[in-house]
Symmetry: C2
Subunit: 407 residues, 2 copies
């Protein structure tokens, strides 16, 4: 069984479709993995093995009847608690269950369930997705599975999502990404993370943090899995199998923009060397490398460091929809939400316009290149006890999201 779980999503989907593998067997293996590691790792806020077995049996019954509901039929999947998932409570990392209107499936979750994926449960997260360290004062912070001794950050805010992949209880994890919240935990747990382009996937049915920047996203064990799952959910692409056949198998001629020194200079612990070596490998395989100055990233990061737009947008949402939640807000987040009261609309809109201008300018850089290559996180996952208090916490947060915020 462990061998089966190490196959790609596309390979597993083929085996399921041919009847050579049962969705129920996959789910049992995922449950066994969670039972082995979950007590320490605590990836899930709501772990739902009985529900997962029901999903798997439904997928198997459909396979037996010759029904193909979609490429993710029978795939064990975890979902961040920021998403409404009917049949589950939504806490969004807060101590109190949110009202029922936050439990109605949005289009992304609906697409997943229509395909008869096996939902393993809802994963832990930073309260209201506000912060990148994976901290949560109400439920404790998740462990990074790569260090059994020190309590290192698994990244956040989708802090349980990457962990669920590492422990083998899910082969696909849904997260949300406003400033970094999919890509950061993916990088810190050794997985692939995909932030979806704004407006491409609906954010309906996802508790908002910043309506300006919220997107959904997926974490997978490989980029090939990310491509497969992306096509399965995306409303604009066709069938995932057909999409995978269209993905180029060679990097020949792919134009890589090498981001400027701002993205590299502070890299710790050999990270820059590893990333440079990977890029060199790609160029030896035929990719073309171009220097790519990206001053827009500095501007976007400057706006973020001045306070950005998320704190006030979250505050406005809580004021309107969940005022009772403000009293219990995580102490590391409370000061930012309180300080947001002093922000003028003029300054807020000035930040929005600066970001808009940077976005438009950066978009033109893709005229000459296909992708921009940068390290994802400049630092190896830190021990969580190292920062205490909101101020130290946010100083660390600014460091770990440095290369992620601009996107």
């Amino acid at each position: 069984m462990t061998d089966t779980l190490s196959l790609s999503l596309a390979e597993i989907a083929v085996l399921l479709g041919e009847g050579k593998l049962k969705a129920r067997h996959l789910v049992e293996a995922a449950i066994a993995n969670h039972e082995r590691f979950g007590g320490k790792l605590m990836a899930y806020s709501q772990w739902a093995p009985a529900h997962a077995r029901q999903c798997a049996d439904a997928a198997d019954a459909a396979f037996a009847a010759g029904s193909r509901a979609g490429p993710l039929q029978g795939i064990p999947t975890s979902i961040k608690d920021l998403f409404a998932v009917s049949g589950f409570a939504t806490f969004a990392g807060s101590p109190k269950r949110l009202p029922a209107k936050f439990e109605i499936d949005g289009p992304v979750v609906a697409a997943l369930r229509r395909q008869l994926a096996s939902v393993m449960g809802k994963t832990h997260m930073v309260e209201f997705a506000f912060g990148g360290s994976g901290q949560n004062a109400h439920y404790g912070s998740r462990y990074n599975p790569w260090d059994a001794k020190a309590h290192r950050s698994p990244g956040g805010s989708s802090s349980g999502a990457g962990v669920s992949l590492c422990e083998g209880s899910a082969l696909l994890a849904f997260g949300s990404d406003t400033a970094a919240s999919v890509r950061l935990p993916a990088a810190m747990t050794g997985n692939a993370g995909l932030k979806i382009t704004k407006e491409r996937w609906s954010t309906e049915g996802i508790v908002p943090l910043s309506f300006t920047f919220d997107t959904s996203g997926i974490l997978t064990r490989s980029m090939a899995d990310a491509a497969f799952a992306f096509a399965a959910i995306d409303p604009y692409l066709g069938d995932s199998f057909a999409f995978m056949r269209r993905v180029p198998t060679s990097v020949d001629g792919i134009r890589i923009g090498l981001a400027d020194s701002w993205f590299w200079d502070d890299c710790e612990n050999g990270i820059a060397d590893v990333v440079r070596a990977a890029i060199e490998k790609l160029t030896r395989a035929g990719a073309v490398l171009k220097e790519m100055p990206l001053p827009e990233a500095r501007e976007a990061y400057a706006v973020f460091c001045e306070g950005g737009v998320s704190a006030i947008e979250l505050r406005a949402f809580l004021d309107r929809e969940l005022p009772d939640w403000l009293a219990t807000i995580d102490p590391v987040n409370a000061p930012a939400l309180k300080n947001a009261e002093n922000l003028s609309a003029r300054e807020y809109l000035s930040r929005r316009l600066r970001l808009q201008a940077a976005t438009q300018s950066a978009a033109t850089r893709f005229d000459d290149i296909d992708v921009i290559a940068t390290p994802t996180v400049m630092f190896t996952p830190h021990v969580l006890a190292e920062e205490t208090g909101a101020e130290k916490f946010w100083a660390r947060n600014r460091k770990i999201v440095h290369n992620l915020v601009p996107a």
Copy 2:
């Protein structure tokens, strides 16, 4: 020639296509009309007969060569000065020419020019489209062509657009509509006005007032013309002629929602009677009438009266892009742009969220009806001298946009 100008756009387009009418003849008739009435009405800030003749000759040459560039080929058209139109300066109703980046055609103007419409010139407007009365301290306010004696408002902010149709110098007029700026001048000059659904037509190439609410729109002499021109520009519909064939010729079974008393109670000068009579005529022709309470309109109007979001969004735009224009801003608008400095981001976002909730709630009302019927403006066009000073001006403005802001 005058007879030809009284035909519908679809009829004229057929005649042009069959070679029975020359675009140049249409443009000469339009120029003659402007020369007759333009001195008093002053619909245009940039009147361009030489350019219009060039456009018409190009359209005729294309017709002669058998080329059909689009349904608006050869149609005399006016464009509000808020739009960038290459070859024309953009002032946006301000006393100084805007930088060159505001003179690059956006998608709507590009679509119009690709079809070889005859551009007659740029029409006058309220400075930066901020206000509904049609006032402009820099250039004087336009006249309403329906009263030769008193200086009555033609509506705004697209104040020259409706006038250009009335004087017969254009058969189609482009405007923009943030709170009322197409529908109000259309109603006040006896034309049809169409505010385009937000996001349906790009606002690129249009100087922004409120990025939250800005839309483009068209003014035409009839609803049939509006349907024809809408299809010609709209990126989602097919050919205008095919679209016109799909438009139902009967109102049989059309479900009209009769808006509640909030939209009717303050109507002056028999306006309510006229609108009710028109609705009754439709019901006698087979339309079905339903009462339609619309409390969301009250909420949207309340947000508008509390200060709305346009003033601060315009201020933020001017701060960033056109700071030198603030010193010369129209005196009736200056206080609102100054007061916007005191608005907190929290209050601004609270207004945005209230409007968003009202929008979502109102959208569900169209489950049971096809259209909502209300008077457009509750008042007949006022004499412009009647209000002096910003306070009286804005009190009037709140009255005339009452039924328009909620949409």
